[in-house]
Symmetry: C2
Subunit: 233 residues, 2 copies
């Protein structure tokens, strides 16, 4: 199933910019961490982590795509990021009274490992390198959120749609052609607008030949134009 080898799970699970958070752990520490961890399969639509509940585990995705979103006011959701292979998620589950600040649900079938936070905390006390790696991870997370905050609050809708498309290309699929298992509604929730607005701007981008779409197939034709829109030209 899920080997404990450094090269596999969990070392490989927690890859972040080609540098695993778990790189500094000894075999023994890795064993401690992975003993009793749960590897679970979720079907599309299923909730992995539920906002406002307490849960004490962190999530590491092995397969599939999940969305991390905040359930806001009047039924509005904001998708903050997509989680895919090798992504690692800690939230309220680490300190802060364990209250989750967001929901994670499976978009495609997801296989992920749930590791109890208390194990991480114990390892922090034993292995400095590990605590520092986790700190580094959270600082990166901080910068991502800060950047997202400014982009979402300062840009008009076309800039936000361009951001979403570029995010999908660069951070999720790594290819200018991709097939998205998300509805227009969900893409709109990534861009904090209504689905109608999102669709209209997609049409503009299509008629300007910045992109090509066919259902869920997307192709970015003119990335520099999107970048320019993103910078709000």
């Amino acid at each position: 199933m899920c080997s404990k080898l450094k090269s596999g799970c969990c070392k490989g699970c927690f890859e972040e910019d080609d540098k695993s958070i778990f790189v500094g752990l000894t075999d023994k520490e890795l064993d401690f961490l992975t003993d009793g961890k749960q590897q679970i399969r979720y079907n599309p639509g299923e909730t992995i982590v539920k906002q406002n509940t307490t849960s004490t585990f962190v999530v590491c995705v092995r397969e599939g795509l999940a969305k991390l979103y905040v359930e806001g006011i009047k039924g509005k959701n904001s998708i903050v990021r997509l989680i895919s292979k090798h992504d690692f998620v800690t939230g309220g589950g680490l300190f802060n009274g364990n209250i989750q600040k967001f929901t994670i649900s499976a978009v495609t079938p997801v296989v992920c490992c749930l590791i109890d936070s208390s194990k991480l905390v114990k390892l922090f006390g034993e292995n400095n390198q590990f605590a520092v790696e986790m700190l580094r991870f959270h600082i990166k997370q901080n910068n991502y959120l800060l950047n997202k905050l400014v982009n979402q609050t300062q840009k008009y809708m076309p800039g936000r749609v361009a951001d979403t498309l570029l995010y999908l290309k660069n951070e999720v699929f790594g290819d200018s052609t991709f097939s998205i298992p998300l509805t227009r509604q969900e893409l709109a929730e990534m861009s904090n607008m209504t689905k109608e607005s999102f669709v209209r701007i997609l049409q503009e981008f299509k008629s300007s030949e910045f992109i090509k779409t066919n259902g869920n197939e997307f192709q970015i034709l003119n990335e520099s134009a999107l970048l320019s829109v993103s910078k709000n030209g």
Copy 2:
């Protein structure tokens, strides 16, 4: 000037919810940290940290009020948070190639200590408790940003103005009556809107008797009404 006593600076400097980040440091470690640190005075308007520059220090405010903001597109600024006595700020200065993701500038005269990041990093390697405290700090920061992201993107202007007023009361001044050394423009930048819009909503709140203002003197008369507006009623 700035004693190295646990009860004073720097222990006291880094207070966060009555629990100092520096609580786990030994006297020797504290000495190491504070030796050669710079205590600087800034005049109102002066820049303490400049976005997109590299700088390797973290900031700890002893006196005064500063604003932490992102310089966005087309000259728009977003004030992310206010920094006052005992607040601690790390940013791009810690890992991430030391590139600052935001600007910090003094609103009132500010006295603060600048500590080189490399000293923190060295202590992380020696004192686990310290690394964990720093991690805890950043996770809290994360939750703050996540919350701010959703509030700013999902709420209409009245909700955002209510949030700003409640933030000032609860997080900055700790009193329902306060005098703000910020312009309307800056208050608007905290709420991500134009100053004209901010002023109009202030007037609505005044005529509804939620608040009373006289220049920079603010008084919150009906906090539960503001809370209700914040929740977008």
